[in-house]
Symmetry: C2
Subunit: 499 residues, 2 copies
């Protein structure tokens, strides 16, 4: 599970002499912080997906747009690849450096430039932390809706690069739905504006194209996000089930009734027990599954929805439904869910977090499929997911010190993602493709579709210098490593019949 950029499959990169590159860049930008000694580079070897590591040629820490422009022009002129990095919390290796490339760390772009209360927007630099935006907006009763679990640390630039989600994205959308304007530098160092201060912008939707493009199209230097007014009331219901299928059915009932919960999360027994043991959230440790359903909005509306959802949950067979009786209890219920990953980390030496999205109706079939694959591979899987939007996070438990187990975990993860594709879903919900899932992209897309991605990439970056080897696999890679393209269930997935 630790491979480097592969020139053979990801396109040949020109190799520029490191000593010369550092000296030239230093002479060009004497004010720029450049790291190039091995001990200084170590902290930048990986992002949140620590299984993949590469030492970059150098790390640069610019503070001003003009410096980034100069760095891009420098790299462009010498064909040196560039990988941008925000806070480095990404889970798919999107910010994994290149041995022969520059790692462009945007962490020092950490200023909130403006909170516009009337327009309900904030203009921020890309290194600003997700949570810091909501904190700056709080005095005005506003907040920034997307809330990835890493929101205390992750940067908005990284959120844009990965189109990050969170527990509230069913109701409030992904990053792409919550940004309004981007200032972007091209590989040539030109500054362009995507989107506008109005709610729509003509021409092609490059704002959406840029969002989730994982640093392959340009470097974001300014983000205008939309802010929402804080809901007047928020309540959370905790429902227990003796069968995970019933929990899945409950999700369909709630959505079908026209209620859009602020959050609708599911955890299976293994995840429940791990979280309860760690956080003491008050979860029912004997339940086969729990659902956390948060309802927010106007006070009376929330009360009405709570009563309706409570009745629906019981109708589909919830063994217990509890309304958080206080704000403290509500926070505790969420703390269990938000800490589910580290909680699972306490019951296994290692775990591998997957991120697949499926049509909601396929939940029972895919859960059964994961169970079968888990038995087949001899590894436990804990399931934690954004049930409302069909975004699953199976956590594969393994021990990297047991020979072969890491490979087994990776193989199981790949099979789970292919299963998601086979039922009409996708290999990622919110963590991105990065380096981790590049081979699974071959299952997701046809070679015609991948060719179009490459053509779009070339429109922005003809030399392929921005984050090569991530997100979009070459056709060569797919031919060599990739799985069969499973066209949204149209081509039979050999294993699917069993599920």
């Amino acid at each position: 599970m630790s491979y480097q950029y592969d020139e053979k499959f990801d396109g040949a990169l020109a190799s520029y002499d490191k000593t010369r590159a550092v000296a030239e860049l230093h002479s060009l930008l004497p004010d720029l912080d450049i790291l190039h000694e091995l001990e200084d580079l170590r902290p930048y070897e990986c992002d949140g997906l620590s299984a993949y590591r590469t030492t970059p040629m150098m790390v640069v820490l610019p503070e001003r747009v003009e410096q980034v422009q100069a760095i891009l022009r420098f790299a462009h002129a010498r064909s040196i690849p560039i990988v941008a990095r925000g806070a480095g919390t990404g889970l798919s290796g999107g910010a994994l450096p290149l041995e022969k490339g520059i790692l462009l760390v945007m962490a020092r772009f950490n200023r909130i430039l403006d909170v516009d209360v009337e327009a309900c927007t904030a203009c921020v630099q890309p290194g600003v932390r997700n949570l810091a935006i909501s904190q700056a907006a709080a005095p005005f009763g506003l907040y920034y809706a997307p809330d990835p679990s890493s929101q205390i640390a992750c940067s908005i630039g990284g959120n844009v690069a990965e189109n990050a989600g969170g527990v509230h994205c069913l109701k409030y959308g992904l990053t792409v739905h919550n940004i309004q304007k981007l200032e972007v530098l091209t590989i040539e160092g030109e500054q362009l504006t995507f989107g506008s201060d109005a709610l729509d912008s003509p021409g092609f939707d490059l704002l959406a194209l840029m969002t989730g493009s994982e640093g392959m199209l340009g470097i974001v230097v300014e983000v205008t996000v939309k802010l929402l007014v804080k809901p007047r009331s928020a309540k959370v219901l905790l429902a227990s089930f003796d069968d995970i299928g019933k929990a899945g059915a409950a999700v369909a009932e709630i959505i079908g009734a026209g209620v859009i919960p602020g959050g609708l999360e599911m955890m299976d027994n293994l995840a429940i027990r791990a979280a309860e043991d760690f956080i003491h959230a008050g979860y029912p440790v004997d339940a086969q599954a729990i659902l956390l359903c948060e309802l927010d909005g106007a006070e009376s509306d929330v009360d009405e929805d709570c009563a309706m959802v409570d009745a629906l949950l019981r109708k589909v067979g919830a063994t217990d439904v509890r309304l958080a009786g206080s704000e403290a209890e509500r926070q505790r219920f969420w703390a269990g869910r938000k800490n589910a990953f580290p909680a699972v980390g306490r019951i296994s030496p290692d775990y591998y977090c997957m991120d697949g999205t499926i049509p909601r109706r396929e939940l029972p079939r895919v859960l059964k499929g994961i169970e079968d694959l888990s038995v087949e591979h001899g590894l436990r899987v804990a399931n934690v997911f954004h049930a409302g939007d069909g975004n699953m996070h199976p956590l594969i438990l393994f021990d990297a010190n047991t020979p072969g187990e890491m490979d087994l975990a990776e193989a199981l993860g790949a099979r789970i993602l292919e299963l998601c594709v086979a039922v009409g879903g996708s290999i990622t919900g919110e963590h991105g493709v990065g380096r981790e899932k590049i081979n699974q992209m071959c299952a997701q897309f046809s070679s015609d579709e991948l060719s179009l991605f490459h053509a779009v990439k070339a429109a922005f970056d003809p030399g392929g210098l921005l984050n090569p080897g991530k997100n979009i696999p070459t056709l060569h890679r797919c031919a060599e490593f990739g799985s069969m393209h499973v066209h949204h269930g149209a081509v039979p997935f050999p294993e699917l019949e069993r599920f």
Copy 2:
């Protein structure tokens, strides 16, 4: 205001002999309906923007995807340009044919393929009418949210091409926010899938890129739309103002209070009087402005919001606030607004409908600016707009039979759009650029940004055969006809100081 595709400025087109093209295509696809006689072509000379007219070389009316693929391959091999057309209700000339091109009419792709109640989606062919989707979903308590005024006639394929909006898009988003998957044919006739049956899809966001691309990137042959559960309750408030600035302030107050109305529409005195005279909606004809504010959701929530909004409206100086007392009255209030365009058509021989979007805060300044420009040009302007999202529809009243007045109307329209850009807004909210606003795109975007649009276009259609001369101006056109690029207010707009 009636100009043709200009080879000099929009790129040279190969000219293929018409008789030969018709004969060859007929021999290739004997089942295909091909129109080529002048009297048969006349109805296709324009779309909803009737001031622009061109007779196409031929019109084809395919019924099956394989026919469209064959037509595309035929045209591609011979470098014959293709313009796609849905119902032809577009207001910016996006479906204006080319004298030397094929007009591809998708009207016969009119089947609803599936309504998936559990997933809350409908899979439809592109020629299906917008309203027909909601009608098919109605038995299940679902509907398709975007509702352009032309929804009884316009097709979903055209909605995708123009990223159509409607009175409910403040709360429910534009077309791009309400579609989940597209099946698209490239100019080479290859079928690709953008988006997925899950709520997210990896790789570049080609679904969003395709939406609003005005037929320049590919031909949509299938659309999977998201359906929403019908709100349990909807009520509408009608507020009168003796000053249009106060109405603008009310919009800011409502949004700032955290209420997101289902619809929030403003009309000025000229529009009020025209609509009342036509529809007898019960509008106050002496008011300088009215606001229509629809609140929808759970019953109790709607009541709570109505009380809050009523108080806010009075606080900012509404002279009267009326709650529609019955469903019939609610429908009447909306009928006045939805028929505002034809109503204005009754008080003037001709009118020219603009579509600009501005930051909400700029509403008073832009309204004043429009008033000044109206006086300066000696033409009346009626204002009707989606106030909540800052999307204005100034209607310029003129008489095409008065020499010079059409040119004057066009000049005034261009000035209004440039004013929108100068305050940080955009030249279109929901009607698209098409042929009509192609010169204003030069004011909206820098040459670097336009070059990137062209590069993206070339990634899909290197030969420039799909709808050339629309949406994205060539740099040559901008140099020749275009206005100065006004970079989101950064470069001073000479006239803005006056407003």
